[in-house]
């Protein structure tokens, strides 16, 4: 399809308002047909407007108009409703309802989240809607849509609607050409022949189903012509679909329309039914994610996949794959750190190209760690390969990785004529077709039988070399020399033999089992234990498609063979052609066999990287303290329930390197450290619960313990704050006392007696005529000394002296500043205290803030009450006095009255004094609180800054990348984190070796 990407400019056509009242807002689609715009329609509605430019595509426009005339009378809930059809300046304009998105867009969103496609159930919902609509238009109007594709299925609400009727066709009308405008990916074969059928839409719908579910198309043609040919001839590729769906989609994709389902609904119905019947598969698929298993635990699954493949030899149900719990079991292996690890003489036997890569790496590791290979005669390598070039590469350079020629054994194939004389012997164990089909390259080219042929051909040399190597590594003096030179505790002569090969290669896959039996027969011959013959089988597929299948087939057959030998009641029959005796009784090929999936579609470089962990494992398992751990791992029995006698077990291992120098993990660790440090600054010691805890009970205990510590911690902070408050005499009574004391100092004596004297003096003083009322004057004097009750904080009174409240406030301001500074300093000190940090400081500041606010509220309330009492008293006294005056009482009051008035005045003075004190204390508290709040704000800011800082160290995504690469399962991740936490907790005494295996 030729898609135009630029928006078309048409002269004389107002695109902003194609139809009066409809204002285009946003372009939502451009295609060969024209454009679709999101449009403001009259009434504030949003509509979709499709513009088909007639002058660009008059055929298309007229066809579309014809189609519209067919469809415009058809109404169905799942057909996108057409609201207006106009022809403006010869351009066709169609107004339809506006959908949320197309199925295609929805699918792309799902893909962006890492899903393969839409969840099956959801997809079937949509397609059922579409099927309803399609069946409806056929059954009632004999119409076929003929352009069903994900772009034309629009989602409105949670339902799907069929849109774009550009090709819709009445089956009983003849039409000139259908080819133009159709979408070849989804078009049924009959459409290419111009003969649409009542089942045509069903075909497209089936393709839409497959694509939306799996992201794969049944036909992969890149050009219209190629696709057409495929639609017409090639059977569809349905491999990506769940098994239960395959026959259904295959039927819907029949080349012969009559072979399909009777209706679209029947197709969808069948899919729904199949889903119910096969709930597990669907569930599996509903998750939709690529089945990427954590780490190498996937390897046994792969085995199952092979077993379930097109060959049906191995009963897959008998293969039990490791489960998540097994990891926990691994994690729970306890190692006695004090016990010295015991090592054994080791022979590594590698077969084929993948083993060569592994061995180069392994040799480099051994030499780097233990010195030259000559210094450790009890550790030896033997690399076998049919490919001499590969061996030359293995031995070819000067690096420590290069194998010595004596560590290799070339077992090249020879031309067929060389085998003719020995044919009788060889043909006993290999089909003649292989003997006569040796490639010109004289390599196995990925055929296992050829690997075996080379082994049979070179069997004598091979056995000699193995005998030589095993004799060498187990010789007493060699064991002693090695122990001396390497410092390894080589306690026994009983050797370990690791047989390393790729099962997917011709050489490795063809020889490995025979080589294992060869090793065992020699061990028996030398009187050594056959206990520790380990198989390290690797599987990888290369890029080229043909080779990939070959690799899979090879692994399949190697594993089948291994399976056969390991089953009770079967045994290795021996091979007279290469002098191997049959094995009876304990006939398992390996005492422990590992199967490692290196990866699929690997390039040479990737293969190199992928073999690194294997080399690392071999190295660790043979000559590092990790050996003890692996030994214990091997002791774990994986017995499937009810398996009697024990079934063969394939083990696997994953490797993740911690603190390795060649990865970005150190950076991540550093950043994690920074983050944790920031978090400590922020909140004190790290949360212990986050640490991995292998056992549930322990976790619970930890949580409980943690909760307790948390409470205790903050409880302590509050206690401390209270102590501090007490220390600072932050309390109503002490503060009132202080205020009273200040007032006393001001009046040089007891403040109450001062007022007594003052009132008496005022009372007894000669009265000036102008003064009028005596009582008013006394009130005025008291007020002048104490400050006006109503004045509050305002300045005023006599300019010559400050009233007592002003003096008091000024004096208290100084004290408030001092107290606030002390509190602030104390809080800031908390930030540095390891048990409090910012969080604790905040807690303390808030505590102070609360305390001060509460106290302030109390004082303000008290002051309010006092003010009311003062007002009431003053009014009462004055009104009594005024009343008396009005009654014409003499100017000289009687003594009783005078005493009463004095008592009232004393009371007034006392109340006024209390009020002044309360107000001052309130003000004092307010001042301190203001400072505390400021402190708290600063802490809050700091807290936010720290959070941002911590967030900037968010390494989680990269962390998971790093772990993905090294394929570490969750438990490893957790253990690593716990190690890290330990490091942080004891950073005064950091552990030197963070690296290691888990």
């Amino acid at each position: 399809m030729n898609m135009k990407t630029e928006v078309t400019q048409v002269v004389g056509f107002n695109k902003q308002e194609p139809i009066p009242g409809y204002f285009t807002k946003e372009l939502i689609g451009v295609g060969g047909y024209g454009e679709v715009w999101k449009t403001h329609a009259p009434g504030g509605l949003l509509k979709a407007v499709k513009i088909v430019y007639a002058n660009l595509n008059s055929k298309r426009a007229s066809r579309e108009l014809r189609s519209l005339n067919r469809i415009k009378e058809v109404r169905h809930a799942f057909l996108l409703s057409i609201e207006r059809i106009e022809i403006v300046d010869g351009n066709l304009i169609i107004v339809t309802e506006l959908a949320d998105q197309s199925l295609k867009q929805h699918y792309e969103k799902c893909r962006a989240t890492g899903l393969r496609g839409l969840p099956r159930d959801e997809l079937l919902e949509y397609l059922r809607d579409a099927a309803d609509a399609l069946d409806y238009i056929y059954e009632n109007y004999s119409l076929q849509h003929l352009d069903i594709k994900p772009e034309n299925l629009l989602l409105v609400g949670n339902r799907a609607k069929v849109a774009d009727f550009g090709l819709i066709k009445n089956l009983y009308e003849r039409s000139a050409s259908l080819i133009e405008g159709l979408t070849p990916i989804y078009s049924p074969p009959e459409l290419f022949e111009g003969k649409p059928n009542r089942h045509s839409d069903q075909y497209s719908l089936a393709i839409v189903y497959q694509e939306m579910l799996t992201g794969e198309l049944p036909f992969d043609g890149m050009t219209a012509a190629h696709l057409a040919a495929q639609h017409l001839q090639t059977p569809p590729a349905l491999r990506g679909l769940p098994k239960c769906d395959q026959p259904i989609i295959a039927r819907a994709l029949s080349k012969n329309p009559d072979g399909r389902f009777p209706s679209c609904r029947a197709l969808i119905g069948a899919l729904i039914e199949a889903g119910k019947e096969n709930a597990e598969v669907v569930k599996d698929n509903a998750a939709g994610r690529d089945h990427r298993q954590a780490g190498s635990s996937a390897a046994p699954l792969k085995t199952e996949a092979l077993a379930e493949g097109s060959f049906e030899l191995v009963q897959s149900q008998s293969i039990t794959s490791a489960k998540a719990e097994d990891w926990a079991e691994l994690a729970s292996i306890e190692l006695d750190e004090n016990a010295a690890t015991q090592y054994a003489p080791v022979l590594f036997v590698g077969i084929g190209g993948v083993a060569t890569r592994t061995f180069r790496r392994l040799r480099a590791r051994l030499q780097d760690r233990l010195g030259t290979m000559d210094a450790m005669p009890a550790i030896d390598l033997l690399l076998l390969d049919t490919d001499v070039k590969n061996l030359n590469w293995a031995t070819g350079d000067e690096s420590s990785a290069a194998l010595h020629v004596s560590e290799t054994l070339a077992m090249p194939l020879r031309r067929a004529e060389h085998y003719r004389s020995a044919a009788g012997k060889i043909l006993g164990s290999i089909s003649r077709r292989w003997v006569y089909n040796i490639p010109f390259s004289l390599q196995t080219e990925g055929f296992r039988p050829l690997g075996r042929l080379a082994m049979v051909d070179h069997s004598k040399r091979l056995l000699d070399r193995l005998r030589q190597a095993l004799t060498k590594i187990t010789r007493e003096e060699n064991v002693a020399t090695t122990a001396q030179n390497t410092g390894l505790n080589l306690a026994s002569r009983q050797p370990q033999v690791y047989i390393v090969a790729s099962t997917s290669g011709g050489t490795g896959g063809g020889m490995v089992l025979d080589v294992a039996y060869a090793v065992r027969s020699i061990l028996a011959e030398l009187g050594l234990s056959e206990e520790n013959v380990f198989g390290i089988l690797m599987h990888a597929t290369p890029r080229a498609a043909g080779d990939r299948d070959k690799a899979i087939a090879n692994s399949y057959s190697t594993l089948s063979e291994l399976w056969h030998y390991c089953r009770p009641g079967h045994n290795y029959p021996g091979d007279r052609a290469c002098g191997l005796p049959p094995f009876h009784g304990n006939n398992r090929t390996f005492s422990n066999c590992y199967f490692v999936h290196l990866g699929d579609d690997l390039s040479e470089t990737q293969l190199d990287t992928a073999t690194d962990p294997v080399a690392e494992y071999l190295y660790s398992s043979a000559v590092t303290p990790a050996a003890g751990f692996f030994e214990k791992c091997r002791k774990i029995e994986y017995a499937p329930a009810g398996a009697q006698p024990p079934e063969p077990v394939l083990r696997t291992f994953g490797l993740c390197q911690l603190g390795g120098s060649n990865s970005d993990i150190p950076t991540i660790v550093a950043e994690l450290l920074c983050r944790d440090l920031v978090c400590i600054w922020r909140s004190g010691p790290p949360n212990t619960v986050e640490r991995a805890s292998p056992k549930l009970t322990e976790t619970v205990a930890l949580i409980a313990a943690h909760d307790k510590t948390k409470q205790t911690r903050f409880f302590k902070i509050e206690e401390q704050a209270a102590a501090k408050a007490a220390d600072l005499e932050l309390g109503l009574e002490p503060m009132q006392a202080v205020a009273r004391e200040i007032l006393g100092q001001e009046v040089s004596g007891d403040v109450e007696s001062y007022f007594g004297r003052l009132i008496l003096e005022a009372f007894d003083a000669p009265r000036a005529e102008a003064d009028g009322n005596d009582l008013t004057r006394v009130f005025a004097i008291v007020d002048a000394v104490l400050g006006d009750v109503a004045r509050g904080d305002e300045d005023g009174g006599d300019a010559n002296f400050d009233s007592l409240d002003t003096v008091l406030n000024t004096r208290l301001e100084g004290r408030a500043g001092k107290a606030a500074a002390e509190i602030r300093d104390w809080i800031f000190d908390l930030v540095d205290a390891s048990e409090a940090r910012v969080e604790g400081a905040k807690q303390a500041a808030e505590w102070f803030q609360n305390l001060l606010r509460t106290m302030e509220r109390t004082t303000v309330n008290t002051a309010g009450h006092l003010r009311e009492q003062i007002g009431t008293l003053k009014d009462a006294v004055l009104s009594d006095d005024a009343g008396r005056r009005a009654a014409g009482a003499s100017n000289t009051p009687d003594a009783k009255l005078l005493r009463e008035e004095k008592i009232c005045l004393f009371e007034y003075a006392r109340l006024r004094l209390d009020h002044v004190i309360e107000s001052s204390v309130a003000r004092w508290l307010r001042l301190i609180e203001g400072q505390v709040t400021a402190t708290l704000d600063r802490l809050q800011e700091f807290w936010t800054d720290l959070n941002n800082l911590a967030a900037s160290f968010d390494v989680t995504p990269r962390l998971s990348d790093a772990f993905d690469r090294s394929a570490a399962p969750e438990i490893v991740h957790n253990n690593w984190r716990s190690l890290l936490s330990d490091l942080i907790n004891h950073r005064e005494d950091p552990q030197p070796g963070l690296g290691g295996f888990v």
């Binding site: 089945h291 199952e304 379930e308 097109s310 067929a416 006569y436 089909n437 490639p439 010109f440 899979i552």
Partner: protein, 448 residues
């Protein structure tokens, strides 16, 4: 990662390679070295080809030489550098048309003088020898079922069947004797079918600088290319052809020369002998004893090959080569074996199977069979009439060929007289006269 849900499907092509019964597959050579030929030899072939065709594109040259275009590239460059060929224009797909220069033409003439061979590139003799060993008939052991399948549409008596099976399995020679017309040849031809497979043979061989043509369209029937997926999925060496196992039938025309490499001095090209052409198949010596060479002579020639399963042939340049002698040899004769050869030879041909005359029942059965073939109604009474009138009363022996031959004559008779094809006593009366007159005369002369 694959799981249960998406088990890996092995590509059909690979599966058919892995599981195929083919013992031999000529893999496509990836370099000149892998062809087993040297580059100057191939250059000669290219020059000779261009001398006869004028100009040709690189690809068509490669096609005619049955070598892949990719390995010839360097040779074309070298020829051009040495000014033996020139580009005569561009050809599609990154290719050129090549033509000989004058210099090249004179060379080509010289090459043609040395050897006129201009066909597909040959295969080294050793490759051929291995291919025969791999595909030898000795390793295919046909069971009863295969035999029954091969003789499905002809009538074989159970007794004969029982003795044929082991004889075929021996892979050595056998005598089929009995009166003429009883289907010895038919039987012999059918035998190859039960080996059932296709084999690969090279079109020509190269040994000691001599080219020996092996492929002979008369005996070798090529398997159509679109037959299986195998061919499409894996490239094979085009110098090899996949054929049905050959059945080489020789009659009286056999001479001693046919058993040696036949060298044409003009073209300096040799032709493989019959026994080589029949390797991996069947060699049927029909009418043994009637050859132009005496039976003793023939058997003397083959006494060693029959024993050792290889033959020595002499090339035109005098070199003796050892070639496999791996075929089922059937001597079919209407003479008694004892009359033909002495005991020493008979010992080397371990199976002697007599193909006798059919009984009345089988005769009826044969009529029934052929009536169906000729699309007419089988009438038992008419056949009984025939037997009574023309066999029993005349003391004539029934032969397996009679029903077919007589019906053929009846058909011709009906056709000529514009009658509907059917069997009637009077028709038989007519045709019997002409048919037996000749046969009987011959028989009288020979035997009685």
């Amino acid at each position: 990662m694959a799981t249960h849900a998406d088990a890996h499907e092995i590509d059909d092509g690979l599966r058919s390679i892995l599981l195929s019964d083919d013992n031999f597959w000529p893999a496509e050579p990836k370099s000149i070295r892998e062809t087993g030929l040297n580059s100057s030899f191939i250059e000669h072939l290219i020059c000779k080809y261009l001398a006869t065709t004028g100009s040709s594109s690189g690809r068509s040259i490669a096609e005619s030489l049955c070598l892949s275009f990719s390995i010839l590239g360097e040779l074309f460059d070298s020829l051009r550098t040495r000014q033996i060929v020139v580009h005569a224009g561009a050809a599609p797909f990154n290719d050129y048309y090549y033509a000989l220069t004058d210099h090249g033409r004179s060379r080509a003439t010289a090459y043609l003088g040395e050897s006129g061979y201009g066909g597909p590139a040959p295969v080294p003799l050793m490759d051929y020898v291995l291919s025969v060993e791999a595909q030898a008939i000795t390793f295919v052991a046909p069971k009863y079922a295969q035999l029954a399948e091969a003789f499905r549409d002809i009538s074989v008596e159970p007794k004969l069947f029982a003795s044929l099976g082991p004889a075929i399995n021996s892979g050595a020679g056998m005598f089929l004797y009995g009166a003429p017309g009883n289907g010895k040849s038919t039987l012999a031809r059918r035998l190859t079918v039960c080996f059932g497979q296709k084999i690969w043979i090279p079109q020509a061989l190269l040994e000691g600088g001599q080219i020996i043509k092996l492929y002979d369209a008369a005996y070798h029937h090529i398997v159509e290319e679109d037959d299986g997926t195998l061919l499409r999925c894996q490239d094979h060496d085009c110098r090899w052809l996949q054929i049905w196992r050959p059945t080489v039938v020789v009659g009286g025309e056999l001479t001693m020369d046919d058993l040696e490499i036949h060298h044409n001095p003009q073209s300096n090209v040799s032709e493989a002998p019959l026994q080589m052409k029949s390797n991996c198949g069947c060699l049927l010596l029909d009418d043994f004893g009637r050859q132009r060479i005496a039976p003793n002579e023939l058997l003397n020639r083959w006494i060693v090959p029959l024993e050792c399963r290889h033959d020595f042939l002499t090339l035109a340049n005098g070199k003796k080569i050892k070639v496999p002698f791996e075929q089922l040899i059937i001597f079919s004769t209407n003479l008694e074996p004892e009359d033909l050869v002495d005991e020493a030879f008979l010992r080397r041909i371990p199976y002697k199977i007599e193909v006798g005359d059919p009984g009345v029942e089988e005769f009826h059965f044969l009529f029934k069979l052929y009536c169906a073939t000729f699309d007419c109604e089988y009438r038992k009474d008419v056949v009984n009439y025939l037997i009574d009138t023309h066999y029993r009363s005349q003391n004539r022996a029934m032969r397996r060929c009679h029903p077919r031959d007589l019906l053929m004559q009846v058909r011709n008779y009906c056709r000529y007289n514009d009658l509907e094809m059917e069997i009637r006593p009077e028709y038989f009366d007519c045709v019997v006269e002409s048919y037996f007159a000749m046969v009987l005369k011959g028989k009288a002369k020979r035997g009685n």
